[in-house]
Amino acid sequence: MEVKHRAELQERFGEFGDVLDAEIITRKDDQGNPVKTFAYISVSISDAHLRKCMSILNKSKWKGGTLQIELAKESFLHRLTVEREEAKLQKEKPPRNDKTCLLDSLKKAGVVDFHMKAVPGTEVPDHKKWIVGKFGRVLPVLHLRSQQKNKIVKYDPSKYCHNLRKLEQDLTDVVPISELTWHLEGRDDSINKKRQGEFPVTKKPPKKLRQLGSEALNGAVVLPSVCQSPSKNASSSQLDQRSKSRSSEKSKMLPLSSLNSKISGRGLLSDKSNVSGVTAQNNMSVSDSDIDSEEEIRAMVKKEREIQKGESEETESDHLEIVGDNFELKYNSHWSLSNPNAIKKTIKGSYKDKETMECDNGYDSADTDEIIADSKTPDLNSKKTAILEDSKQVKVENKQILSNKKCDLVNDSLLKTCNLKEGKGTIKKSKIAALRNKAVNSTTKSNDSESSCSESEEEESEISSDYESMMQNCYRLDLTLDDLKALATENTGTPAEESDSAQSSSQHSVEENSKANVVNKPKLSKFLSGVKKCICPEDIVAAILAGEENADEESSKGQNNSCLKYQPFRGIGSLCEKELPKDSTGLKKTAGENLGLEACISYGGEKSSKGQPKNHPLSSLEDSSKKRQNMRCKQHRELSTEAASLAGESDQPISQPRLQGKNKNVKSLQEDQNSERGAVPSTDESEDESSDVDSNIAVSQKGVKRQLKSPKILSKKMKRDVSNENPECGTNKYENGKTKLLENKEFCLRATASEEPNTKKRQLQDNERRLAALEERQKERELQKKLIQGALSNLDSQPAGKHKHVIFNSDVESEAELDEMLKKDASLGNTREEVESAPKVSGKLFESSEDEQDDTDDERFKIKPQFEGKAGQKLLRLQSRFGTDERFRMDARFLESDSEEEAETNISKADEEEELAAEKKKNLQILGSLLNIDLEQPKTTKTATSAKKFKDINALRYDPTRQDHAVFEKKPSAPEKESKAKRKKKREENEKPPEVSKESYYHISADLKELFGSSKSKSEKNEEIPWDKDEAEDSNPPDHVGSNAAQESGGFKFCFFKDPEESGIKEEPYVLETIKPVKVPWQEDPRFQDSSSEGDDDEPEAPENEGDKEMFFPLPQTESTRFFFFSKDDERLREGPKLFCRSVDLSEEKDGWEDRRRLLLEECRKKHKDARRKVKAKQ
C-alpha cells in the first residue's frame, strides 16, 4: 500500500534501468492519512527498456494499488538551469564576435587604423572633439558651464572614466535554483498558488491535483523513453538524463538544449502537455487508489481543461464591466427624470422614423434628379408634419402614414414634374401640341393617380407591402416620365394641325384626369389626415418651380372644367388663348393661358351659378375679361413669386383646398361652402358689373396679400384642427366632386380667380357672424332674465306677509307701512323701487317688473365688499346666524379690521419663508465649505434665477419710459451753479489740441488755390519765424478766405486761442497777447461749449467775432501749407534740405556757440549757487 522508501521503487524499476533518483510525494488529508502517493523517478533507461517497463508495470497491481506510469514533464528547474547555461555560453561568445564583426565592418567601411583597444584619453583620429572613453567608447568632449563660476569647463570624459561602471550581467554568481526567492505577482491568489504547485489540500479534489502536479515543477525529472513521443524526443530525453547525472557536461548540454528548443518550437510535447496535460508526458505516478483508470483520467483531463479555461477567462476578463460617469440608466426611478426621458425617447423614435422615412424616400426617388429635387423639398414638410403627427399618433401609424404620404408625395411631385415638362415643351412649341401633350399626360396622370390611389388603399390594408409598392410606383412613374419626354419630343415634331383632334382627345383625357384628380385628392386628404400636409410639399415644389406648375395645373383644371361642360365656350377661350400668347413670351404665355382659362372658367362659373343664361354670346365680355385676366396674370406672377418667398403657402391652385379647409375649420363645412358659393356669384357679379378693372385688381391684390399673411397665421391654429376635420373635408369634397363636380370645380377655380374678394367677403362675413352671435347671446340673456323673473314673481307675495312682523311698532310706523302697502298695491313701480333701495341685502323683495328686476338682480348678485376676505366671511357667518333679519344686517361698519390678523399671518408667513431661506442659505454654505466650492451654491442659485430672466447686455437698450433705466441716465451736470472761474479752469483743463486739425480742415474746404498762392508767397520768410509771431504780423489780404470761412461757420463759433470773454473788452492788445506761445491756452470757445448760456453770451459775440476773424486767418495759413502729401514745388521740399546744410560759417557758429556756452555756464552756476543758498537758508 504505502511506498515508503526509494529502495522499493529502485527495486521495482531497477530491472529496466538504472534508477538514479526517486522522489516520493504523498498527499494527505486533514488527519494526515495518506490519500494518494506518487513519485518522480529518474531512470537511465533505453528506449526498448522503457517500452518494456511501461508494458509490464503500467496498471499492474503493486502493494494493493494500481501502478500507473507516465512520462513526466521536464522539470521547470531543470529547464531553467539548462537555459541559463545556454545563456552563459552565448554570453561568452558574442562579445568577441561583436568585436570582430565591428572590425570587419569598419574595414569594409574603409576605416583601416582603428584601434579597438584604445587607451582611454586617446583622441579619435579625424575627430578633434571626440575621445576614447573608459570602455573604449568614443565620447564627445564637452564644454560645460561650471555651476559656481561663469566659466566654461572642458569636460574630458576620459578623465572622469572612473565614475563609469559597466553593468554586466554576472552569470557567475547566479542564485542557485534551489535558493530561488522570487515569486510571481499576485502570489496570494489561489490561482497563482495552484500554478506554483501549492495546493490547498482540503479544498481540491486529489485527482485534479495530481494532474496539476504532473504539470508543475518538481525536483528531478526522469524522462524515460516514451512510446508516444518520436525517437528524437526519446534520445533527447536520454541525453537529458545523462546531463542530469553529469551536470557539468556542457558539450552535451548544448545539443540537448537545442533539441529541447526544437521540441518546444514544434510544440509537440509542450502543446500537448498544456492542453491535455496527460498524453505527452510520462508521469510516473505511483498511486494506490483504485479509482485511477483511464476513463477517470480522461474525465479528469476534461475537468482540468474546463478549469483551465475558466481560469483563463477569469484572469483575462472577469465579466466585469466598467462604465464611465456618463453611463445612462435604462430604467429611471426618479420622478424628475423619468418623464422627460420617455419623451426624449419618443422623440428620438419619431426622429428615427422620420429619418428612415427620409432615407427611404431618398432611396426611392433616387432614380431621377428631378424626383430627388422634388422629394427633398417635401421632406421638410414631412418632418414638420411628422412632428405634429408624432404627438398625436402612434409610431406605427406614423410610419404608415408617412410612407403613404411619401409615396403620394412622390406621385404628386412626379405629376408636377410631368406637368412642368410638358408645360415648358408646350410653351416653346405650339399650343395645340401642348394640349395634346397634356392630353397624353393627363391619361398617364390618371393612370398614375389611380395606381397611387389603389396603392394607397392597399397600404391602408397592408402595411408590409409599402416599400415595394412605393418602389414599383416610382419606377413606373419614372418610366412614364421617360415616355412623356418621348411624347413631348414627338409632339414638338408634330405640327399644329391636329388641334381639333388633340382637343377632343384632351377633352376626354381631361375628363378622366379631372375625375382622377378629384378622386385622388380627397383620398389623399383622407390618408394624410390633413389637407395641409399634403399640400405643403406641393406648395414648395410650386414655389421652386416659380408658379409654372400653377399655370399648368390651373390650365389643366381649366381644361377639365371647360371640357366637361362648356365645350363651345372652351373653344372660344382656347382661341382667345391662342391669340394672346403669341405676343407675349414663354412664361407669360403660360400665365396668360392659365388666366384666360381661368377667366373662361370663371365665366362658366358665373353662368352656372346664374343658371347658365349666357353661354355663348360672351365673346365680347371674354375679351374684356381676357384683358383683365392678363392684368391679373401679371399679378399672379407677382403673387406666385411672393408665394415662392412665403414658402409657397399661397399658391392659388393649391391653396384652394386649404382655404376651404380653413374655412371649414373656422365655420362649419356647409356654412363655409354656402358662404363661398354666395361669395362666388357675388364676386362674379361684381366683376361683371364693375367696369373698373384696376380697382378690382387693386382690391384683389390686397386681398391676396392678406391671404398670404393670413394662412400662415391661421395655419398654425388650423394644423391641429385640420387633422380632425380634414377627413371630413376630404369626404365632403369627394362627395361634392361626385355629385357636383362641376360646381365644385368652378368653385375652386372661381376661388382662385376671386380669392381676393373672397377674403374680404369672408372678413365681412366673419364680422357679421360675430355680431349675430352677440345678438344671440343678448337674446339668450334676456330669455334667462325672463325666466328668472317668472320664477321670482311667484315669490312676490311673501314680502307682504313678512311685513306683518313689523306691525308691532308704533302706529305711526304701521300706518306708514300700511300706506306703503297701499302704495305698493296701487303703484307697484315707484314704491318698490324705494323699498328695494332700502333693503339691499335682504333680498326678500322680488319684483315682477322687468326694469326693476334688473336692478335688484344686479344688486343681489353684486359682490359686497364687506363680505370679502376672511373677516368678511366671519361677518357673513354672523349675519347668517341672525337670519335674514334686516335689523341685524351686517354693514361694512361691522367689518372687523382684519388687517392686523392678516398682517400677522403675513408676517408669520414671511418669517417662515425667511427662515427657510436662511436655512437653505446656511445649508448651502455648509455644503460649500464641505465641498470646497466657496459658496458656489448661492451663486448657482443666483445664476439660476438670473438665467430665467437672462438679459443680454449687448442687446440692452435704454428705455426712457422705464424707471430702472434711470441708472443709465447721465445726471445733468449743473454748470450754472459752478462759478465761472471754475468753469474756465475746467475748460482749460479739458480742452486740448485736437482743434488744430479742425482748423486745417476748414481751410481745406475753402478755396485751395488761393491758399496755395498765399502760402507760397509767404512761406519763404514765414517758416523760419515762430508761427505765433507770424500770426501777429500777418494780417494779409489773402487771409480773408480764412476769415470768411470762420464767418461762414459762425454758427460753429469757436476761438482757437483764448476765451473771448476774458479779452472781450480789449480787442487790440488781445491779438498781441495771444501771440505769446506760453499763454496760448489751446482751448475752445466757451460759447461752443455751453450752449445753454448762449443767451447771455450773445451780446459780446458780435464784437468778438471781428477779433476772431483776425485771429483765425494766421493759423490757417501755416496750416494750409501742410498737407500730408507732398506736392510738386512743395516748400517743404525746398526747406527740408536747407536744414541739413550749414547756413552760417563754421567759425562764426563756433564763436557764437562759445559765447553762448559761457553765458549758459554762468547762468547755470548762478542758479546752482542760488539753489544751494536756498537750501542752506532752509536748513
Binding site: D189, S190, L320, E321, V323, G324, F327, E912, K920, E936
Partner: protein, 180 residues
Amino acid sequence: MRPLTEAETRAVFEKLQRYIGENIQLLVDRPDGTYCFRLHRDRVFYLSEKLLKVAASVPRDNLVSPGTCFGKFTKTQKFRLSVTALDFLAPYAKFKVWVKPGSEQSFLYGNHVLKSGLGRITENTAQYQGVVVYSMADVPLGFGVAAKSTQECRKVDPMAIVVFHQADVGEYVRSEDTLT
C-alpha cells in the same frame, strides 16, 4: 421636529456627499419648491415646505414620519443613511455598482457584494467611495461603500468583497418596524 444644527447639517451633508457629491445642492436648492431637512426623533427628514407646514400641526409624539427619512443620528452623533433616502439619492449618484442577478438577492439580504457578483462598476471609483448599488436592470437596490477601487476590482479574487453593504431595499421588509 426642528431644523438641523450646523454640526448636524455638516454630518448629514458629509454623508450624502459620499454618495452624490456636489449634487446635494440639487436637493437643497430644488427648482420645484423649497425643501428642507428636519430632525425628528434623531432622524433626519427631507420634506417640502408644504409638508413642513402640515407636519407642524401634528403633535410630536404622534408624528411618525414627516417627509422622507434620510437617515438617523446615532447616539454618538454620527449620521447613518437609511434606505428610504435611496429614491432621492439614486438619480444623483455619481458612482454606481451594478450587481449581477445572481447576487442581487444576496445583497438584498444584507450581504456585501462580492467580486463574483459585480456586474458593472463606474470607472474611477475610489476605495471607500459611497456607491449606489443597482441591479443589472438599473433598479437601485441600495447603498454601499466601495471596498476596492475600480482597478483593484479587476484583479481581485472572485470571492473578495467589492462593495460593503450599507443599506438595501430589503430593509423595507427586514426592518419594517424600524424604518420610518
